[in-house]
Amino acid sequence: MHSTPKIVPLGDSAALVRFGDEIEPAVNRRVHALANLLEASPPAGIIETVPAYATLLVHYDPFVISFTQVRDFLRGKLSQAEETVARKPRQLQVPVRYGGEYGVDLESVARLLHLQVEDVIRLHSERTYTVYMMGFTPGFPYLGKLDDALVTPRLETPRTRVPAGTVAIAGSQTGIYSVDSPGGWNLIGWTPLKLFDPHSETPFLFSPGDEVKFIAEQ
């Protein structure tokens, strides 16, 4: 049995659907199920939705639809979403060069976790992760859940510049920097794939809800 999600206003033009308050794969699947359902048949007045770990933010146009109407509509869709068989997620493989010039924290992470470098690479690349949500910078995927043996704290002082394509871990999550940006995660590798190109026909490599597997390059 699922708990009934709460629907609360965020200001006067967004409604927040809260399924839980933790990073939990089962909760996140419910977020994507509702997001997919709304995307398949978008009602008038709903502009777009933003899935996150445990919430779906629904941006609406208050000149077209009121908060109460949005809330009632979402309540109807929620029961439908829980009954719908989950759409099979898209699966992507991401080649990674671990360590080296970009994965500068790989060895210190291994020392911190009392693991061999090879074990960190194996544990990181053997799981299939879910894109829980995207944010921070355009195209940045928050992926999880990491093996418990790989849980690390963030850097005390974030770096001012992390190159696009750098693969990193922090807490129970892993991610890939989508553009050159500051960053406080531990850097363990690099992928040549382009995560974000605003001028491309396909600007984003990932979508929320995708499944991702890292392939270690020799």
Partner: protein, 315 residues
């Protein structure tokens, strides 16, 4: 059909009504900081309200018209001169080729919008002309405008004389002030704060910090106290959302706000009052916040935008 930038010492960018449809991928909407003044400028120039216009941040700017055109300027805190005359804002003007248009920054207010009849023409990136400086895309090559840039404009909706000398009366504008009262819808994390903190936020004056920018306005005033947790798992947010990090100093998310955030939100500034907040001068404007409901906020926005639609007058 173009306008050349002669000099600029503030932050000038091209903006439109914002970049929707990409927030789930982490792309901020960007768009105008003062959505009302932006829209008014376009309507005065006879443009579609979504056309790109020049957003002028705190600082002076000068343009030269390379052809006859009609421009309109709306905003707060600038003195406008065209050729050798001074003119008020919130109006449209016929400008002859060769004439100079100057906007000089005054004490209060922050942003002004210069729209050109026909709209500034620039390639769309992810469906919008808005400049997102941190992402270095949109607008003119993803960057701020600089001296020497030439802005091209499209075909005006009507003959130029019909578009010039139109004005939006003060009664139709938001109640811009150096001590505004700004409505807030409380939540969704009001339970993360002590009752005393919420009462403080709704009664004490706050000032916009000098470190504010298009991404967010940092507020300076009495610190707000979290009950225990100061972080939550990241969730979606919107322009106007008021995040409160551990130091207790609120940050109101503005046009370039990230799409998600992990600090508790005490409330959200309502859309009708975002223009008032956007125009608050750092360190000068004295802001008070007050609680409202979603229904009242939406009604206020409808009234404001309704006045804008019906109030443009030919002089």
């Amino acid at each position: 059909m173009s306008l050349e930038i002669l000099e600029v010492n503030g932050l000038a960018t091209l903006q439109d009504s914002g970049r929707t449809d990409w927030r789930k991928f982490g792309v901020p909407t960007s768009g105008a900081m003062d959505p009302f003044a932006f829209r008014a400028a376009n309507l005065l120039a006879g443009n579609d309200p979504h056309c790109a216009a020049v957003e002028i941040g705190p600082g002076d700017i000068a343009f030269r018209a390379l052809r006859d055109c009609v421009v309109s300027v709306a905003g707060v805190g600038f003195a406008l001169s065209i050729y050798i005359w001074d003119f008020p804002l919130w109006s449209s003007y016929y400008v002859r080729g060769g004439w100079t248009i100057r906007l000089n920054k005054l004490d209060f207010g922050v942003w002004a919008y210069l729209a050109i009849s026909g709209g500034v023409q620039t390639p769309l990136v992810l469906g919008s002309s808005s400049t997102y400086l941190r992402g270095a895309f949109g607008g003119l090559d993803g960057r701020r405008l600089q001296a020497g840039d030439v802005l091209r404009f499209g075909i005006p909706s009507r003959p130029l004389p019909q578009l010039a000398a139109r004005t939006l009366p003060e009664s139709a504008r938001p109640a811009y002030s150096d001590h505004p009262t700004i409505d807030v819808v409380v939540g969704p994390q009001e339970k993360y704060f002590t009752d005393a903190s919420i009462a403080t936020f709704m009664s004490q004056p706050y000032f916009v910090s000098h470190t504010s920018d298009r991404m967010g306005y940092r507020l300076e005033g009495p610190a707000l106290v979290h009950r225990d947790k100061v972080e939550l798992v990241s969730e979606g947010m919107t322009m106007g959302a008021i995040q409160v990090p551990a130091n207790g100093q609120p940050i109101v998310m503005m046009a370039d706000s990230p799409t998600t955030g992990g600090y508790p939100k005490i409330g959200t500034v309502v859309r009708a009052d975002l223009p008032l907040l956007a125009q608050c001068a750092p360190g000068k404007s004295r802001i008070r916040f007050q609680r409202t409901t979603v229904a009242r906020a939406q009604e206020k926005a409808r009234r404001l935008m309704g006045r804008l639609g019906g109030s443009i007058e030919a002089e």
